[in-house]
Every structure is written in structure tokens, then in C-alpha cells.
Assembly symmetry: C2
Homo-oligomer: 165 residues x 2
């Protein structure tokens, strides 16, 4: 159980190491979302609105199905949030060209502005962390984070920038 050379129990260290990982994920995500959440609250929006705005901004022309597949929520949950964003002029829907059942989603100018306002804080936080940690650490961060994501989603990285339909 105890390593003769170091006097340290390697299983215990491993357990500690893994728990630290769990805690880093909790704290990092908590702080990562706190700033945009505060801004969203001023507009009467929540985190769900940010997610929609973010991913639609990232994938202009994406379909509702694709968005549902990313968010992993029900269409009923999405429809409330998406409906609000469309009603208030942040997101547009237009029928697909090849498949007219689809509603291709995109941001309006107002939506693009909101996206920038919200994501800016998160980008700044990540930039700060990347700068402080160094390029090599960033590479390690990416490797580990990708390993935490379900295999099925690996083809998403790097996310395509725009969808043409």
C-alpha cells in the first residue's frame, strides 16, 4: 500500500488527484458562468439564452435539431427560450433550402451584439488563464478536457464556423 521509497501511498495520491480534478471543474464552471449570468439577469434572460445565442452565433444556419443535439435538452425546453429570442429580435429563423421543414437559425445584428457582450467576459477569463499558464499548459488543458467529453462529441472539435445550406 505504501511506496517503500517515498513513504507515500500512491493510491491515496491518485484519489486526491482525481478529487482535485472534480473540484477544479466545479469551481471553474461556477466562476466561468457567473459573469454572463449577471449580465443576462439584467435583460431578463438566463443561462439557457446564452447557450442558444452562443451556439447559433457559432453555427449560423444551424437547424433546431442540431442545436438540440448540442444542448441535450428537450425541444419543449428549447422552444420557450428560442421563442423568446426570436420574439425579441435576437435570433432569426428561415426555412431550409433543400429541406423546407427546417428552420435555419441565425443571429440578428442585435443578437450578434448580445453574443459579444456575453462571451467577451468568458473569452477574457480564458485568455487570462491561458496567458498565466503558458502554451504548453494550454495544450495539456485541451487534451484533458477533450478526454472528459463523451466520444460521440469528439468530431465536434474544432467546431465548424459556419454552415451553408
Amino acid at each position: 500500500m505504501t511506496d517503500i521509497k517515498t513513504g507515500i501511498n500512491p493510491l491515496f495520491l491518485r484519489e486526491e488527484e482525481l478529487r482535485q480534478g472534480i473540484e477544479l471543474l466545479f469551481f471553474a464552471y461556477r466562476d466561468f458562468t457567473a459573469e454572463p449570468d449577471a449580465i443576462l439577469a439584467e435583460y431578463g434572460f438566463g443561462r439557457a439564452h446564452h447557450r442558444v445565442i452562443y451556439f447559433v452565433g457559432r453555427n449560423p444556419g444551424m437547424t433546431v435539431s442540431e442545436l438540440l443535439d448540442i444542448l441535450r435538452i428537450t425541444k419543449q425546453s428549447l422552444s420557450r427560450v428560442l421563442g423568446q429570442l426570436v420574439d425579441e429580435g435576437f435570433v432569426t429563423q428561415r426555412p431550409g433550402v433543400r429541406d423546407r421543414r427546417q428552420r435555419l437559425l441565425a443571429l440578428t445584428e442585435k443578437g450578434i451584439e448580445m453574443e459579444r457582450l456575453l462571451t467577451e467576459r468568458q473569452r477574457a477569463r480564458i485568455a487570462r488563464a491561458y496567458r498565466a499558464a503558458g502554451a504548453e499548459a494550454v495544450e495539456g488543458f485541451r487534451k484533458v478536457m477533450l478526454g472528459l467529453v463523451d466520444e460521440a462529441d469528439h468530431p465536434r472539435f474544432p467546431l465548424r464556423l459556419s454552415v451553408r445550406r
Copy 2:
């Protein structure tokens, strides 16, 4: 704007890099919480219960205030979840020795079992990602993740294992 030598816009690359970080955080956290959430649902619990069980298990004897400070929620929100866990025999409360206003929190045997059941999945996921990425990558992951956490919480790492009062 465009690097003469590489023909690549360094600002664009940086933007892509940061967005990838945002997305990795979203996907990793989504998948990291999905497994325990499914188990919790079977017991009629939610993610909030897991957080309480996790941190109380990690810091036996911690106070309600300390827990609130970690979770960053209101005492009213905590009290419902904590009350359920106490009622159903997962968590115990005992008065502080030095300060009898405090309710020192700890897990029962049942609580410890539940903590193990829930956290086991997350530990396994992290272990898998660490193994796949290698020791050096893990070090980078830790550096970047710590950089994402608000400075005020840095003294929490590594979290103390037990609190004596």
C-alpha cells in the same frame, strides 16, 4: 492583420483558440454531470444534493456558512436540500464545540455510500481523461483550470481533507 510569413491571421487564431476553450468547458461539464444526475434521479435527488454530499464528505465537520460560501447559493436554497438530506439520513448536524450556534455537518454511513456511488463515476471519467492525456497534460490542465477560478478561491486548493473543531 495577416502574418506575412504564415498567411494566417494571428488574432483570428486566438479567437478560435478561446472559443474552443469555451466549448470544451461546456461539453466537458455537460458530460461530467450527466452520469451522476441520472443516478440521483433514481433517488429523487438532484444535482444540488450531490454538491452538498460531495463537499460535506470532503470536509466533515464543516459549517453551514462554509458550505454556502463554496456553493454560492442562498441559505434558503441550501436549507431545502440540506433538510432533505438530514431527514433522509444522509447528513448529520451537531452543534459546534467552541461556537454552539454552528451546525457542524458530516455524512452518515449511508451518506458516505451515496457519495461513493455518485463520485465514483466522475472519478472514473477524470481518471480516463488523465490516463489518455498523460502526466504533463494533467499538470497543464490544473494550471489552466486554477486560472479560471476566482482568485479568492485559490487558497481552497488543495482542499483540506477534514476540519477539526
